[in-house]
């Protein structure tokens, strides 16, 4: 069986003023279906560039990228848009929800660009997706009426709405406090337990331990790639966490219909 994602010899250079930045200098990586991979590394290591290429937002100078059987490096702009729409889900550090737009409509957004989905179907699927992150009750709330953790869960619901083969999360906990970060990691772990492949970019080692496999990028090359020795369980960590702030924030089921 071929890997879900395979890159070979990725090279990417930038011209920043007069200096040439060798962001990627020959990266090889394979990710199988159902994996939960954390990509780490210091800032400037090239992990963001790798993330952008994996997310089909950027193209490498050279090298191969095969995603779910498609040779991504050969695709044109419209084809890349289609791949992003059908096969990928994005979760960003700053949530990137549309302001003055309800949670439901935010989640529906990728379906709008899919074309073949009727408005009624889109709404149904968006509600299902929100239910998976425990926010079906907040479907009509606007982003400014939601906490940071809730906004990030709306973003996760949006990333899943098109049943992607891969969810790419770029520092998803970077703007969140420790407890909310744990909640988000729990959502990711639960999604992964349900078979969704996740690639998480983070420079925080204590977030990376929730992934099953850790890849470290340094100076444009992969310097470490190994299974996490002791994968932390976000639910257990959350249980140990003092509930000081929790009293202030409303409690709701974090993930409903989850298979244990």
């Amino acid at each position: 069986m071929t890997a879900l994602l395979a890159v070979k010899g990725l090279v990417k250079t930038y011209q920043l003023g007069e200096t040439t930045v060798h962001a990627l200098q020959g990266v090889d990586l394979q990710i199988e279906r159902g994996e939960f991979v954390a990509i780490g590394g210091p800032s400037g290591s090239g992990k963001s560039t790798l993330m952008n290429i994996l997310g089909c937002l950027d193209v490498p100078d050279s090298g191969e990228y095969r995603l779910d059987g498609e040779p991504v490096q050969d695709l044109g702009a419209d084809e890349l848009a289609r791949v992003r729409n059908r096969k990928l889900g994005f979760v960003f550090q700053s949530f990137n929800l549309l302001a003055r737009t309800t949670a439901l409509e935010n989640v529906e957004l990728p379906l709008l660009y899919r074309g073949e989905v009727s408005p009624a179907q889109a709404q149904e699927r968006a509600l299902e997706s929100l239910a998976k992150v425990g926010l079906q009750e907040r479907a009509q709330h606007y982003p400014n009426q939601l906490s940071g953790g809730q906004q990030q869960r709306v973003a996760i619901a949006r990333s899943m709405v098109n049943d992607p083969v891969l969810i790419l999360a770029d520092e998803p906990t970077g703007n969140l406090d420790t407890r909310t970060s744990l909640e988000i990691m729990q959502v990711f772990q639960d999604l992964n337990a349900n078979g969704i492949t996740i690639v998480l970019v983070t420079h925080e080692p204590d977030i990376a331990v929730f992934a099953k496999r850790q890849v470290v990028v340094r100076d444009g090359k992969i310097t470490r790639d190994e299974p996490t020795p002791n994968v932390s369980n976000a639910r257990e960590e959350l249980a140990k966490f003092p509930l000081v702030e929790a009293a202030a924030s409303p409690t709701e089921p974090l993930l409903v219909g989850k298979a244990d």
Binding site: A81, R82, R84, R86, N96, R100
Partner: protein, 406 residues
């Protein structure tokens, strides 16, 4: 992406910034309203001008008998006096482009009334003469067709004649005047027309039935000239052509012969009128065009601001699968929505302004369907044209940079 979805997205984004959308729209509203009101006023002014120019005689056709050569001496025009009243009747019957026609008999006569006397020209013509020259009366009424047929000794007199015989500002309607010692009853006084373009006093005239002047003042059977008006200004050349053909036939001139008469239209007046109304149209449409242009630049400005402001939104849309053309269409639809809604409001406002102007100025302000259609089409085109560049700018954003944009 579905078109309904695009409309929905555009609507929501405009509704998010109600004040800004409205102010942007205002540019288009004013532009379109200006086009419609200006064209309505221009049309009204044009019509008002045309009718006053028609009053000057641009619609009038004069037919003079040709000069006749007697031996070596060529006589003046009209000297042959070869038209008869039957020729006039024939032209009236056969020429479709003619609205009114009358024979004209001209004479100079000495007038006496009370202790005063005055020499002036006496013009014999059918009552239609007043319609041809668009010449109303200030008091009394014109003579009737039966008075014309009966060669009644009645007349209407010009202001100058009334002033000289009966005193300035007098109304001699119903009084009597002697023309070459024959007593005539004055039926009315003509409105003052002042001087014509050659400095001749047009009010120094007595108008009497053609038959009366022909038989009782001149004592001959000829028609010294004919005066006619065409059904419209546009029909002038056709009317002149018809008159020529009919008269050639009736005067039994061989085909291709030089006509023995002259058909004269006031083409220079009509040409001047056309030039003025053309200039007026150019002036008004350039003012209107400029206001639409300014409205369009307003749209472009706001769309550029909007694209910059929503860079992250564009980045996100690209990341979740929007293609460049989806983004392009989204912004184009927004620009079109502004210009079309603005255009609709502008049409309403323009009609309102035109109506108010019509009421206030008493002009014949007319809103035409075509001006509404043109204004609306232009506002749509403005949205398309000025929305294009910002929309393309949005569509060409790099998703990575757009997502990171602060």
């Amino acid at each position: 992406m579905r078109f309904a979805g695009l409309i929905h997205i555009a609507w929501r984004s405009l509704a998010r910034n109600k004040m800004r959308s409205f102010l942007t729209m205002l540019g288009v509203i004013i532009g379109v309203a200006a086009v419609i009101a200006m064209l309505a006023v221009g049309r009204g002014a044009g019509e008002t001008m045309n009718s006053s120019i028609a009053g000057l005689g641009s619609n009038v056709i004069n037919v003079f008998p040709g000069s006749r050569t007697q031996g070596p001496a060529r006589m003046e025009a009209g000297a042959s006096s070869r038209f008869r009243e039957e020729d006039v009747a024939a032209v009236r019957k056969e020429a479709g482009a003619i609205l009114y026609i009358t024979p004209v008999a001209r004479s100079q006569a000495q007038l006496k009334a009370g202790g005063q006397n005055w020499r002036t020209s006496v013009l014999g013509a059918y009552p239609e003469y007043l319609s041809i020259r668009q010449w109303p009366l200030t008091s009394g009424a014109a003579y009737t067709v039966s008075e014309e047929r009966g060669a009644a000794k009645v007349c209407v007199i010009g202001r100058t004649v009334a002033d000289n015989l009966f005193g300035a500002g007098s109304d001699p309607t119903g009084l009597s005047v002697r023309i070459n010692n024959l007593p005539f009853r004055i039926l009315g006084v003509l409105e003052s027309k002042g001087q014509n373009s050659f400095g001749q006093d047009q009010d120094d005239i007595v108008l009497a039935p053609f038959s009366t002047v022909q038989k009782k003042v001149l004592g001959n059977l000829y028609v010294s000239s004919m005066m006619a008006s065409a059904v419209s200004e546009a029909a002038m050349p056709e009317a002149a052509q018809q008159i020529t053909e009919i008269l050639l036939r009736r005067l039994r001139l061989p085909p291709g012969a030089e006509p023995d008469f002259t058909v004269r239209t006031q083409t220079e007046i009509a040409a001047a009128a056309n030039a003025i109304s053309g200039a007026l149209t150019v002036l008004l449409s350039s003012i209107a065009g400029i206001s639409l242009l300014v409205g369009g630049i307003g749209i472009m400005n706001i769309m550029l601001v909007s694209v910059t402001e929503r860079t992250r939104e564009i980045g996100l849309r690209l990341a979740v699968g929007a293609r460049g053309r989806d983004i392009l269409l989204q912004f184009l639809v927004e620009a079109m929505a502004i210009s079309l809604v603005g255009g609709l409001i502008g049409v309403g406002l323009g009609i309102g302004v035109a109506a108010v102007l019509a009421g206030a100025q008493g002009w014949a302000v007319k809103v035409s369907v075509s001006s509404v259609a043109v204004a609306f089409a232009f506002s749509a085109a403005t949205g398309m044209f000025f929305g294009w560049w910002p929309a393309r700018k949005a569509a060409r954003l790099n998703p990575i940079d757009a997502l990171r944009y602060e």
